[in-house]
Each structure stands twice: as structure tokens, then as C-alpha cells.
Symmetry: C2
Subunit: 311 residues, 2 copies
DNA sequence: TGTCTCGCATCAGAAAGATTGATCATTTGA
DNA sequence: TCAAATGATCAATCTTTCTGATGCGAGACA
């Protein structure tokens, strides 16, 4: 007889393409996972994986079974949520990339806690890779990360599309929010996230596609550090608008939208495909989205203002 | 953590309205079932049943959870079937009431075995109550029974609507298939199924609604016996047309449709709600349906023939 | 009203089953 | 060719589950 444990192991192996990683994710041993798969295969009478050396790939039957298993798990999860709903809003764990923790998180948190006074929420700030792994492991209810290539076991939906900005230390006389064409500038000293970061790849693509000259590159995988450093030097950074909203009026930064062409980034909300978002999570996600939109509305106000100053 | 065993137990308890019956159906002990429910309730944090003395009734939450659990089980079953399909047509177990085993079964079986040479099939002949219980227990892939009031855990769909006939021993000079109004006849000696039988209740309703006089009643829960007895006596029986198709030309019986008003019976195909019909079962069900329709087409031929003889 | 019976809850011991850790076999990449 | 990585296998252990006996409460019946 097939058990849920076996199914969970199977799903993990498909998503991780590895027995060993699956065992870690499921908090089990490789041996146990191996046996689960074996039992499943013998119960179904079908091979679920093709083992070619160190390569584990689902057979067509395995792939089909995977799809259905994910649905079953999701339905089961939904059933539990449905019945257990109202019991208490449970503890909510959300992963946000720094872009969001800086500007959007504070007002979102405030609204959420006002709406659900008893809520328990933890927010984990990390880069997209970490957040994606945690989401896959089921350690997060959802996470917000840059749009990515998709990954087995993760479902995602667009949360926001944002304009990338050139951020430098403010010098007197700078007109805020004036669009800037990077290739017109002299070669930049630019602070960038590390190569494993999704944003880094997008930025490099923009640079090379649009003939942007870079004098020097500095890798900093520390957002706070980046901002501090940029504020106190002549280095620049490329950051999404929503990250900088709260800095528009501090006089610390010169913030300008990249233009000609404009550079957009997309952010998606990801969650484990096998789970149903809890009511609490859905509420918080909605609040994050509206707060993001509110922050973005500032963009139009300011660029209009900049425009009218010019004319 | 919730297990499939627990869910199956829960579903069984809801459908049986009893821990004890559920334990029998699941091949477990009452103690075990009780623990499963307790674990489920504590895992969900919700009471699933209201225990009022010897009465077990699902709470609203329990009812909702039941619906979702059935779906989960069904999806899981479908997933297995899907993946395991092609492995072999498996053993098929079908329950038929005597009405169907007499006329429809032989040609249906023949066609089925011709279509799927390697098929293993067993047909169980029994009355509707027995067949329904077996279906609920999962001992049958499906069963054909008289239309009934519905029952938790059983899904059903209409298979055929058939005309009830007055069946008596043939006497010389009888014109076959002439419609007959029972209340015009002198009081009948009639052989009937036992009171627990669904057909019995329907027949009694027809009798009393239409002022049919009955001289004597004889209860026989043996279809073969009923036919033998009717053929050799002046007792009558009320039987569906499809049951008698193969006896139209034997010269043994006088078979006439009840008329003014006509008396119809419906037969449904039932299966466990938590399962997905296997490909083999679906095929056999389809064959049974077409064979039933073929048998019924004889009705029109013969009544037309009878009509033209009269005019 | 008292007693009986039926049915679920509970508990401790027994059976079953799952998990682990060690080890082997195989493949890949240096 | 060797080292590293990965999956398969196996026996021992440990956890979980199940059972059978017993308890308890509610309705049935006299």
C-alpha cells in the first residue's frame, strides 16, 4: 500500500533530481528515500526513474505520476487548511529579497498586524537562491524573488514590474529623478551583486546589450553595505525603484531611472507547488502587492515633477 | 502528520456512520479506527464527529473534510491507475443483479472477452443490498442495481430505464406482448421478492397506486426459482423486460407489458466514490450498457408486431 | 427504574514497519 | 587510474501502529 511519506519522497526526488538532496530536504536519509522509491515502483509496477550513473531522471510514467502527486498533495493541503481554518492564523513565514524589505515591508507589516492583531509572522531576508531553496523545502509560506527561469516544484506569479535606477551619492545641483542614458556617461564604477545572483545576470545583460562602459566592478552581496558604500563614495549601483522610494527625500542619494532603453525588472511571488497558500499568507501577499503598487505610484509623481521642472 | 490510513478510516466512518462498521470495512479493529480519528482531530485541531450516545455524526467541518478527502483518494487512485495502466488489465470484479445476469450478461461477456482476450473478470450475482455493500467495501469495481435513494460514498449513474412486464406461464392462444392493465384482471397470485428488496417496494407502490388487486403473495428471493415456479403454475411475476428477452420465443412464458399506466424501473451503475473506474471496468460497463440497449430494442419490435396483429 | 446491550474511548503489550548507518557498486571527472 | 559522489542493499534498532481487554455512557426494554 502506498503511503504519503513515499509520495512526498518521490516528489522531492523529482524536484531535486537527486536522492541525496531529496533526503536532506525531507529530513531523512538517502537510504530511506531509496527504499521509498523502490517500494513505490514495485507497488505501481512501473519504473519511476532512469538511473544513469549519477543522473536521476524521471521516466515518462514518473513524470506523469509526479504531476498527479503534486496535485494530490496540494488538494490534501487545501483540505487541511480549509478545515483547520479559523483555528488560528498559524505562524506565517515569508521570504523577501532586500529590495522589498527596505521600502515595502515596513508599511506592509504595519497594515498586516493592524488587520490581524494576533498574527505571528516572521520575515526572512535573503537572496533569491536561498529563498527559492527554502520555499522548495517548505520552510516558507511564500517568497518574493526576481523573475526566474522556473523550477520544478515551485509555482510563481508576477507580483510587480519595476524600473531600475542608477543610484549614486547626492551631489549639490543634481536634479532628482532625471532619466539617464548609461552609455552617455563616462565609464562607471559600479557595485554589483555576486555572479550567482539573478539580478547580476540581468544587469550584465543590459550593460552589454546597450553598450554601457564599466570602469570598475565591485561585488557586494550585502545590500545595506552597498547603500552605505555608495552614499559615501563615487561608486554607483543599479537598484529597483521600489527599493529606493524611502530614500527619495533624504538627500543622501541621486536616483535616476535608466532610460533609452528603460530597464525593467520583474518580481514574482513563489510558493511550493504542493501546498495551498494559507489564508494568512494570501492576505499578507495581497498587502505586499498593494504596498508595492503604492510605492511605484511615487515614480510617476516624481518623474512628472522632474519633467515639468525641465520644461 | 496525517497519513492515508487515517484518511481512509475517516472516510469509512463517515460513510458507515459507525466506528465499528468502519473497522470491519477497513479490516481493522474498532480501537484502531478510534485512534485514527482521534489523531486526525488533534492534527487538524477540529472535532470531526459529534458523538451523541451511540450516534456518530460528522460535524460541519467533518462533512467538508470528508468531501475533500474523497476527492484526494479518488485523485490518488486515478494517478495510480494512470501510471500502472498498460501493466495488465488487472482482475475485474463486477456485481450484477439477476435481471442483468439472465439476458444481458452472456452477450456482454462474450464481447468483452473477444475485445480483451487476456482479461480476468468475475461476475457476482446478488441482490442490490449485497451489491451495494460490496461496492462500498471496495470489493467490486462496479455494480448494477435498481435506482435507489443514494448512499454516502457511492456514486451512481443511470444505466437503463426498462418496462416492467407481467410474466405468467404460457397458455395456448395467448397473444404475446399484448399490453395488460392489471386492475382489469381478476386478483392475481403473484410471486414477489422479499420486503428488503428495492424492487419489492416499487412493485407494491405500483399496485396500491393503481388499485391492483392481489389474491395471494408469495415471497421468493430466488430468481431462478421464481421463473421455474411461474412456468409450472398459475402464479404470476412482475419482471423487467430485459430479464425476459431471451424467453420471448421459448414458448414457456406469457409476457406482457404492464400498461395504463406503464410501469418503468431504472437501473443504475454504482461505484465507490473514492475510486476511479479502471479502464477495464469502464469498457465492460460500456458493453453492458450497449447490450442492454440492444435487448431493449427488441421491445419495440415486438410491441409493434403485437399491435399490427390486432389491427 | 433498574438492568442489559450496544458502541466508542482508553490503555498496555505485541506485532509490524520504518529508519538508520555501514558497506558495496558504479560512474564521473581530474 | 584514482578520488569523489551517488544510489543500492542489508541488518539492527527504534518508532509507530495495531490489537485485545477493559471502561464508560447512553439508549432499549422489561
Amino acid at each position: 500500500m502506498i503511503s504519503l511519506r513515499q509520495i512526498r519522497s518521490f516528489v522531492a526526488v523529482v524536484e531535486e533530481s537527486s536522492f541525496t538532496s531529496a533526503s536532506i530536504r525531507e529530513g531523512a536519509t538517502q537510504s530511506g528515500i531509496s527504499q521509498h522509491i523502490k517500494q513505490l515502483e514495485s507497488a505501481l509496477g512501473v519504473a519511476l526513474f532512469e538511473r544513469n550513473g549519477r543522473d536521476v531522471e524521471p521516466t515518462p510514467a514518473g513524470r506523469r505520476y509526479y504531476r498527479e502527486c503534486v496535485e494530490v498533495l496540494k488538494k490534501l493541503d487545501a483540505a487541511q487548511q480549509d478545515v483547520a481554518a479559523g483555528k488560528s492564523f498559524g505562524a506565517l513565514r515569508v521570504g523577501l529579497m532586500p529590495t522589498f524589505t527596505r521600502s515595502v515591508l515596513p508599511p506592509a507589516l504595519e497594515r498586516f498586524l493592524a488587520t490581524v492583531p494576533g498574527a505571528e509572522i516572521s520575515v526572512i531576508e535573503a537572496y533569491s537562491g536561498v529563498l527559492t531553496d527554502m520555499t522548495l523545502k517548505g520552510e516558507l509560506d511564500f517568497a518574493v524573488v526576481p523573475a526566474f527561469e522556473g523550477r520544478a516544484g515551485i509555482s510563481h506569479r508576477l507580483l510587480a514590474r519595476d524600473r531600475e535606477m542608477l543610484v549614486r551619492a547626492k551631489r549639490s545641483g543634481d536634479a532628482g529623478m532625471t532619466p539617464v542614458k548609461l552609455s552617455d556617461l563616462r565609464p562607471l564604477n559600479v557595485v554589483l551583486p555576486g555572479v550567482q545572483n539573478t539580478r547580476r545576470r540581468n544587469i550584465e545583460t543590459y550593460f552589454s546589450t546597450n553598450g554601457v562602459a564599466v570602469a570598475r566592478r565591485l561585488e557586494l552581496d550585502a545590500m545595506m553595505g552597498t547603500l552605505q558604500f555608495v552614499a559615501a563614495s563615487d561608486w554607483a549601483a543599479i537598484l529597483p525603484f521600489i527599493m529606493m522610494v524611502s530614500d527619495l527625500d533624504t538627500g543622501q542619494f541621486d536616483i535616476r531611472p535608466l532610460d533609452d532603453p528603460p530597464f525593467h525588472s520583474e518580481f514574482v511571488l513563489i510558493e511550493p507547488a504542493r501546498k495551498t497558500m494559507s489564508a494568512a499568507a494570501a492576505l499578507f501577499a495581497a498587502i505586499v502587492k498593494t504596498e508595492t503598487e503604492r510605492a511605484q505610484s511615487v515614480f510617476l509623481e516624481r518623474t512628472n515633477a522632474a519633467h515639468s521642472r525641465e520644461t
